[in-house]
């Protein structure tokens, strides 16, 4: 089935076309949600919500991006709304100071941090940006489409997210601003 055939089928509500679209995208969507949310059951719920929304609103897909990008956008929106429902600040990066403690600081953690824990310490938007770029391989244009922001802001947001991730990996659990958030994610 070509993408065009799949889309036509989905617009008619054809179950085989819907399943084909699901099969082609669900591994990546599920993986992204799992890493964003860090809760396997909630990630499944959000994946289900994503596809229900995609299939029931496929008539509103305007074809300006790839259909997979559009589904990513729905998934990311669902995930960020999930965080908001949990009372999480999804985009706190602007208000956080990045502090790189001296190597001999007492705040430096003894344990080198696991990558998932380090990602979990970032605010959800920073985490999403890193995952969309490096785990999902989206270019800046697609990322801007998924995150509904200007393409020009992606490079700076990525830079900041990389800085924060690097610090988290280097310093363990000493990013005090984010530490409580990391525990809430568990």
């Amino acid at each position: 089935m070509t993408e065009s055939e799949i889309l036509d089928g989905c617009r008619r509500g054809d179950r085989q076309a819907q399943r084909e679209l699901y099969l082609r995208t669900s591994n990546r969507i599920h993986r992204l949600l799992l890493r964003m949310i860090r809760d396997s059951e909630a990630a499944l719920d959000l994946a289900q919500a994503t596809y229900l929304k995609a299939f029931t609103r496929i008539g509103q897909f305007d074809g300006r991006s790839a259909v997979a990008t559009w589904i990513y956008r729905i998934a990311v929106t669902e995930a960020l709304q999930y965080f908001r429902r949990q009372g999480r600040d999804v985009d706190a990066a602007d208000s956080l100071d990045i502090v790189d403690p001296a190597p001999d600081s007492a705040r430096v953690a003894d344990v080198r941090m696991d990558i998932e824990d380090a990602l979990g310490m970032l605010d959800p938007v920073d985490r999403t940006i890193l995952l969309l770029r490096y785990d999902e391989g989206h270019d800046y244009r697609a990322m801007a489409e998924i995150l509904e922001c200007a393409e020009g802001t992606i490079a700076s947001r990525l830079h900041r997210a990389r800085q924060r991730l690097r610090l988290a990996l280097k310093n363990g659990y000493c990013l005090e601003e984010d530490a409580p958030a990391a525990h809430q994610m568990r």
């Binding site: 591994n27 770029r133 690097r166």
Partner: protein
């Protein structure tokens, strides 16, 4: 050997690493890297960071995920608007098996109730589907608003009767709004059996503005659009931006006041909000 350019800014090096630099800048960075071990180290660091991000191992999603999606789609087809999409999602994968029997019974009861009480009338979605409005804006704001009104069973009413049609809501539909807006039509809407009110305003230049009032307990569905917290005048709320259009929602305990407007600043919007929600007190959160 020519003079070496100064070291590459980290953000630019990141864009180079991501393959997102224009050709000319890319060539410059490549030239610099050939002679700068520090920047090469930074590049290697980026590569190592990426490698750590992708090292995560995940399996395929369980087969139950597709089964749940398919069942929800089947259920939706069978009784189209008894559930909203958001309610369908409540049929979660993890609860799927345990809930199957009770959901089937619920669908039967709801279907019977819809038939008995609706007597052939379409049952309106419980959620407020703003995605219909937001997704259709590119086709024309008037058409998009009309679609939204039609989806929620809109009925043209005399604005003088608006409070009687939705007695639990606290709002105003003044004949004019700050900014040169004049009221055109007023509608009673049906949000899953609960009344709401909408009004359409127009300006001399042909621009339109829409207001929607609904109970705050109703779920809003923005489709694939994201809502962000905002502060308008003395109120906190949230807004959705679609191109030049902005839909702002300010909620108090009795009413969610929504305004759809294009190309406006917060001062003008604050004036509109004060006119349509004159008794609304500031709230400390933006929950619905």
């Amino acid at each position: 050997m020519g003079q070496m350019m100064s070291c590459i800014q980290p953000q630019q090096l990141g864009a180079f690493f991501d393959g997102q630099l224009p050709d000319a800048q890319r060539a410059q960075v490549q030239d610099h890297l050939k002679q700068c071990p520090d920047c090469m180290r930074q590049l290697a660091d980026l590569s190592a960071l990426r490698d750590r991000i992708v090292e995560f191992q995940s399996g395929d999603p369980p087969p139950e995920l597709w089964q749940s999606i398919e069942e929800s789609l089947d259920a939706k087809e069978h009784r189209d608007s008894a559930f909203s999409v958001r309610q369908l999602v409540q049929l979660t994968v993890r609860r799927k098996l345990a809930a199957a029997a009770s959901i089937a019974a619920a669908i039967g009861i709801i279907g019977f109730a819809a038939y008995w009480f609706g007597r052939g009338e379409p049952v309106q979605a419980a959620a407020i589907d703003f995605s219909i409005l937001l997704d259709s804006l590119s086709d024309g704001a008037v058409e998009a608003f009309d679609q939204f009104v039609a989806h929620h069973g809109g009925r043209l009413i005399d604005p003088a009767n608006a409070h009687r049609q939705a007695p639990r809501l606290d709002f105003e539909v003044p004949a004019e709004l700050p900014g040169g807006w004049r009221r055109e039509n007023t509608y009673q809407l049906d949000f899953g059996g609960t009344p709401g009110i909408a009004a359409r305003y127009a300006r001399a230049d042909g621009e339109i503005l829409a207001t929607v009032f609904h109970p705050p307990v109703k779920t809003e569905d923005f489709g694939s659009h994201r809502d962000f917290p905002c502060v308008i005048g003395k109120h906190r709320g949230h807004s959705v931006q679609v191109g030049d259009w902005r839909m702002v929602h300010l909620t108090d305990p009795s009413t969610c006041h929504c305004v759809l407007i294009r190309d406006t600043d917060d001062d003008q919007l604050a004036g509109v909000m004060s006119a349509i929600a004159p008794r609304s007190e500031p709230v400390q959160n933006n929950d619905h």
